[in-house]
Symmetry: D4
Subunit: 164 residues, 8 copies
């Protein structure tokens, strides 16, 4: 994998999803994985979405993260057009507050998986993407191990502060 080009494509259905999806790019920065970001839509810009998905592997991407709300078809539609692993982020919006997006993202038919994270779980989507690329990139694997150790230390510190 070429670390000078984006390895992770982050796609979202609307610019209103940006505050949530930014957490994916932030953690990818922290873990040292290059990424690119795009707004597209399975319904409003279907050709753009299909083209992006079809060209992703050839352009050197290793994994795609897609976030959408409501009848969240974006991740599934992308998964239909690429052999790459696709990570879906259901985004909470509207009256059903993300249950619709969760079901529309995770309940994919046999043959076309979408690796689904929690509702609004874009940070975990970023970590998962880093885990996917870390197989061939020992320096990313090391950063993930460091990150996990840092989390354990933070739990300890918070527990200690409880007693001060």
């Amino acid at each position: 994998m070429d670390m000078n080009k984006p390895l992770v494509g982050i796609v979202m259905g609307s610019d209103s999803d940006l505050p949530v999806m930014r957490e994916a790019s932030d953690i990818l920065d922290e873990l040292g994985v290059p990424w690119e970001m795009l707004i597209s839509s399975a319904h409003r810009a279907p050709e753009k979405t299909a083209n992006y998905a079809r060209q992703a592997a050839g352009r050197g991407l290793a994994v795609i993260i897609a976030g959408a709300g409501g009848a969240a078809h974006l991740a599934g539609v992308i998964a239909g057009h690429t052999p790459l692993p696709v990570i879906g982020v259901p985004i909470a919006s509207g009256a059903l507050n993300g249950v619709d997006a969760l079901y529309a993202t995770v309940q994919m038919p046999p043959g076309i998986p979408v690796a689904t994270v929690a509702i609004n779980g874009a940070k975990n989507a970023g970590i998962l993407a880093a885990q996917v690329v870390s197989a061939g990139l020992p320096e990313v694997r090391d950063k993930i191990i460091d990150y996990k150790e840092k989390m354990a230390r933070q739990v300890d510190e918070k527990s200690t502060r409880l007693h001060e």
Copy 2:
């Protein structure tokens, strides 16, 4: 509208959906509206699905019915590629028994409607398609009126039989 060519396209994601979707074609036959039927998939056959949707209006179709289960993207994906009205039939399957398909079909984002009927409600999808085409076809409108009167009579007959 040309009654010698199909006016309604009925698409389903899998041949296992046929027993449900057949109710749409049966009622269209009863109401005198010509139809065609196709198996396609938003995920497993995305090009086929997109092509069918893009060409539908030009081929003389007036409305498309799409039935799918699980993360039911079929109706929404078709709606992204055509100016025609698209009717979605959420199909009950798997552990969530159609709630996933209902949410994935009905909760479409602003701009791309899917006219959703009840879970497994393919018969009503057929009637709705006939209602859509009936604007320009008085003989279909008349058949719909007859059908409604027949339903009211059947209710009366069943009520009468209760007392025999």
Copy 3:
């Protein structure tokens, strides 16, 4: 169809539904489809509702949009009294936040369809109504096609702005 008279009837159960339902009339204006608006109630004004539905086809309407919350019976009751296609907008209100309205609108029995859109999806109800009337009105069909192209461009513009 006579474009000098309303083609779409927009009915809502309460004036508190107006902010949501106004999105239907706004998009119909944008797509050049004449409409009329009415407050009625399946429960509080059942005769008014039945009369409106019974006369709709004769008065030249081509489609009815009905929005209601809670045990949302309005669209279904109207559909019982007219051969026209009826579009239901479940409106979020109260403790169940629209799930009740969605189920009460979409789960209609065989024979009486309601074309259901997303919770609070009045804009899509308007677009769907325009799609229904567009069969006989090429200028509406063209506006729908333009509208879809505009959406695709907007996605592109938002994606471009992401990188500025």
Copy 4:
């Protein structure tokens, strides 16, 4: 109240609801309350339903029980046309197994109550109807008291049998 004429009207949307709704008439027989039974439909036979509801009070009925499944509008529509108390029985059917019928029956807007019992709870609808008429009929009140005492005894007997 005239005990020689029906005091309770039992209405159901379809003859497939009869096995459930029969439990209402059975318990009314046991409690000595005369009843009548009817199949009607809020959607398929709206005039019949409205006429029945409008004439119910004048014909001497004291309470109406209405059972329906899916988008269960029957009880609510009847309640719109009568000053009598209306008891709704949500009937389990289809993919949502009665949750749709429960929400469509119980979530009535302010002004038009429906006294809702459990999903498929027709027996309790019958008891509730008897409780309603029992205010003016001491012999029914006594039978309800007897019935409650019998239930308590049956619990005792079952508990005793546990240890045999």
Copy 5:
């Protein structure tokens, strides 16, 4: 029935339920039905609750309204101790926002009905209570009929105002 004594007992589990339950007493005032109000709890004051329910019929009450949130046992527990009809108001509170209270109120076992109204539907509980006592009180029946006509007029007025 003696109109100089309360005919309807309104019980609630906590004084935090008062803003909701006040709607029941307000509409009973409007419909001319005397009532009394009490705070009790199926869990925190079980003896008080049982005593109140056991004495209600003897004290001349004709119907009891009980409102509670969460695991809302109040209406069901009261119904276990009285032959009177009991109306349950599920109150929205906490993380489940009233779905828990709805299920805990409406899903009563065979033999012990609770006439359940909508979540937070205390106004309808009051109307239902008035409908129950109206059998023997023609002046209450007349007020209910007036109330329904007033609602229909209000719908008309709101619809007219739409066009001003």
Copy 6:
């Protein structure tokens, strides 16, 4: 604690709950904790239920297990009448398949806890009861430790068998 008298009272709302609740008594036998069993009902036999709960602590019981379905009030009502810990088993039945029983059991108001286990989780209710009494009974604690070790061994054996 006197091991010659029952330490755990197992109460259920109906003899139809016996096949589920028997798992509680079976595991208590295995863990060497004496128990007694009773059918009672919060609604059909409210006095019996209240009396049993009020006398439980004085009779030497240390914990009560209560199983019920639907609007499952039994555990909560018992908890209102005793200072003992009460374990609730929501039992799956009817159209909602135990979600109603779960909510009606677990969502207790502040002040009156019910220790809720999984839907139909009577075996775990028995283990939990044994854990409660084990504080003062080292031989029960030892049996619980043995039981946990046995479970771990069984997992190992099943895993090994996978490869045979």
Copy 7:
């Protein structure tokens, strides 16, 4: 049991859970039961969590309360490592508002119970913990009885104030 050392361990997944979990320690103070508090995490600090659970019984704890939100594994993981009774508090957070935490806490497999209280029900978790230890501590049992009597009096006072 040694009242000079903590008898109840209160564990939470994050310091953001502290406002909820503090209600458990507050009521334990009121009931005179010594406790200790800890932040740990089944996922971010798995070794710390396992060690705490494994040593709890030996250190003299009698019961553990664990609170967590989302995919709330904390109580279940602790229960896997200790023979002590474990009380789980599902904490409302994120888009699913605690339904996820409730299911992830209560639906434990046979063999490993978690005594689950209401969503955010930490106060009841504290009372339940006191009930568990009260078997061997008559002074705690007495405080629980006093607490229940105080609740009943408070209901009476609130009901009286209603009429002032």
Copy 8:
């Protein structure tokens, strides 16, 4: 990656999950990815589970698939102990039919992702695992591309057969 050793570890909570999880190993065989299989349990065999997860990366595994039902903690607990990507399969079982397992698997807290597939979606878990390892294994990538093309052809064939 060493194709002579397992690259994918498949773990399940119980041998009753084997019929579902076998679909993961079957598709991995078809895609030419070596795997190993294990029964373990987050609750009944916590040490075994932790040890397996801690050693997985060192033993050369590239991804772990974990399937469990109910309060499905297995995937999350494994993810807490390894830097490898973990794929979770919620398994339908018991009264909630997999909704509990879905929520308990997907709603992981920030920092510890689980790549969740559909309820019972073990086949997709296998494909996703293959997609993860395919980055460094062009022959697996090719097989995935072939597999997708085969699916598209099968859709075509089924559609053709419809018309025979």
